[in-house]
């Protein structure tokens, strides 16, 4: 039997939710362990096999000078590198600091701010190194994670569509909440969650970040027609994917 590909899972600034999706794979977890050698995954096992690694999954954003160095080393040890989740692909909720002065936050939160060594921004991994594939979502969908790993093993393209959440919403037969009066980010948001929120009569929160061709101003006009004001639009866009370019630009346009 040929050696199994070596898998490493890396953590940067993040909540661990995306890595946990892998541990949460339950039924598939044994299959994952059978298909790859889990060589470096501190969340799952303290036994660490040295690199290089065939597949690296990277969670989290870059927020410290130390991490900005560390990600370079991860890239060097990784043949194929996939970023997972909104932090790694867009900077995460912690990128809200990018819209303000991080020194003010540090001063407000820490008793001894002089010990804090942090960057002014939270940025996605792709702002620092070349990334081979990005899997979006806050958190990622575990079925999509298994799909990405399976595709990597089979040498095929993952079936992870980049169209709107609306298509998933319609495929599952939900009734559009936006047409019924509730502002929804679905039309500009990347599919992947399976359109969960509209199925529970809530507007989409944009957890999977911008879809392939988001028309942000048109959606914002639609929100205003439903009674949302600039603050509502800005707040909706400034969440887990606030620093993703289309969301960032549109939220700035409502900075009134």
């Amino acid at each position: 039997m040929t050696a199994r590909p070596k898998l490493a899972v890396w953590k940067f600034a993040s909540c661990d939710g995306c890595q946990l999706s892998l541990l949460d794979c339950e039924d598939e977890l044994l299959a994952v362990a059978g298909a790859v050698e889990i060589a470096n995954f501190p969340e799952a096992s303290s036994a660490i096999v040295e690199g290089p690694y065939d597949l690296s999954l990277v969670e989290g954003s870059i927020t410290t000078p130390h991490d900005a160095e560390r990600i370079l080393a991860v890239r060097k040890q990784s043949k194929f590198l996939v970023t997972i989740g909104a932090c790694a692909t867009a900077g995460g909720i912690q990128a809200l600091r990018n819209f303000a002065d991080v020194k003010d936050f540090v001063a407000a939160v820490y008793a001894s701010p002089q010990y804090i060594d942090t960057l002014a921004t939270s940025t996605p991994i792709s702002a620092h190194i070349p990334v081979d594939y990005e899997l979006h979502g806050c958190p990622i969908n575990k079925a999509q994670l298994v799909e990405v790993i399976s595709a990597f093993l089979a040498g095929r393209k993952p079936a992870v569509p980049a169209h709107s959440v609306c298509i998933e919403c319609k495929q599952r037969g939900s009734v559009c909440v936006m047409v019924q009066g509730t502002p929804c980010l679905g039309p500009v948001t990347h599919a992947g969650c399976g359109a969960i929120c509209p199925a529970y009569r809530r507007g989409c929160y944009g957890c999977y970040g911008p879809m392939e061709t988001p028309n942000m101003p048109a959606l914002a006009r639609g929100w205003r027609e439903l009674g949302a004001d600039g603050r509502d639009i800005r707040r909706a866009l400034r969440s887990f994917n606030a620093w993703a370019e289309p969301f960032r630009k549109e939220s700035a346009a409502h900075d009134d």
Partner: protein, 381 residues
């Protein structure tokens, strides 16, 4: 009520008769689906009887807006068409086409999933929807290749049509000559008639199967006055259309205005969200996703509804052919209203208005077409 001559094509039933009809269809082993209220909308789902129907409800529709309202009467079919269409049953949004398995000895076993045993009975199919089903029939079973799963579901489906007693704010079946009266393609067609406390349905029998089902339902013969009154209801509906589409020379108009500035104007508003294509009862495009498992032993091909509004839809080597929103909206509208005629011999639009109502930003193809008609030839070099 007592039985009548078997050759009569019109009979009358009451609400109890409608329940008996649903019972008879379900006792015949059919999966009876029809309108029901869910999530503040009238959707199509499994129904058990009168209690499942949207009795006393109506819908108010405008571009990008839909709301349910209480009616003053207890009509069962006093609404128009909602977010769903029968396409979700005949052409399911997600369907596994085949699975393959690599055995230990290296051989490959390919299996098709068993065809679901559903023999449908559709209750409350509108005239425009019958036309939409006929359009999908042309695509799925009358071309060079037949979609056998579609064809099987289709030929088993029992259709109970309903002639519309009112038109909605986004309806334009009169422009498309598809309604509001169902003239063919049904087993039974109902016209709901409420006068004071009297709640009746005129039933037109459209097939032998329809006739044999009606033999199990208590009914009386329809007299001329009843048939005339039902016609008057449908005529009144025809005069109430919320939208109008001028189809005169429309194909040539659109095909001759591919560079019209209106395409950029609509692109400014369009979200490329694809809702219009998902809700359209004639849109038939699909994509396939191939999945393999972690052990690389099992694979499957899944078909999903797709849309000309996605980038993958026109992706060929090197990129998407229709990268701009203008080109994608133009593809949708020119196919639907013009090129469809070249391809299949009819318009791809039946005037149901769903794409107008269910567009989150209320883009209205009748308005877009009118805007191009108002300034034809603009922007042509």
């Amino acid at each position: 009520m007592q039985d009548i001559r078997p050759d009569t094509s019109h009979v009358v039933i009451d609400a109890h008769g409608l329940q008996c009809l649903i019972d008879a269809l379900s006792q015949d082993g059919r999966r009876v689906v029809g309108p029901t209220v869910r999530d503040e909308a009238i959707v199509y789902d499994d129904i058990a009887g009168l209690g499942s129907l949207p009795r006393g409800w109506t819908d108010r529709q405008e571009a990008g807006r839909y709301a349910l309202e209480r009616r003053e009467d207890e009509a069962c079919f006093g609404y128009v068409v909602g977010p769903h269409s029968w396409k979700k049953f005949l052409f399911p949004p997600v369907e596994t086409l085949w699975k393959a398995r690599r055995e230990d000895d290296g051989t490959m076993a390919v299996s098709r999933p068993e065809r679901p045993a559903d023999r449908f009975a559709f209750i409350g199919v509108r005239a425009c929807e019958i036309e939409a089903i006929a359009i999908q029939d042309r695509v799925f079973e009358q071309g060079p290749y037949t979609d056998t799963a579609y064809a099987a579901r289709r030929s088993d489906a029992f259709i109970v049509a309903v002639n519309c007693g009112q038109a909605g704010g986004t309806c334009f079946c009169v422009s498309m000559e598809t309604g509001p009266r169902a003239t063919h393609g049904f087993d039974l067609a109902l016209t709901e008639m409420i006068e004071g406390a009297e709640h009746r349905f005129l039933v037109e029998i459209g097939s032998e199967e329809g006739r044999s089902v009606m033999a199990q339902v208590p009914h009386v013969r329809a007299d001329e006055a009843r048939i005339g009154a039902a016609s008057a209801i449908v005529e009144r509906t025809a005069a109430q259309m919320g939208r109008h589409l001028d189809t005169d020379g429309l194909k040539e108009l659109l095909q001759g205005n591919l560079e019209h500035p209106r395409w950029d104007d609509v692109a400014d508003r369009c979200l490329t969200c694809a809702n219009c294509t998902m809700v359209c009862p004639t849109c038939f495009c699909s994509t396939v996703e191939d999945h393999s498992d972690l052990a690389n032993r099992e694979a499957e091909r899944v078909r999903k509804w797709d849309s000309c509004f996605t980038m993958d839809f026109s992706y060929i080597h090197g990129g998407s052919v229709r990268a701009s929103t203008a080109s994608r909206y133009r593809q949708w509208m020119t196919h639907k209203l013009a090129n469809w005629i070249d391809q299949f011999g009819t318009s791809g639009c039946v005037g149901c208005g769903r794409c107008i109502t269910w567009c989150p930003v209320g883009i209205d193809l009748t308005q877009e077409a009118a805007a191009i008609r108002a300034t034809p030839g603009e922007g042509r070099s």
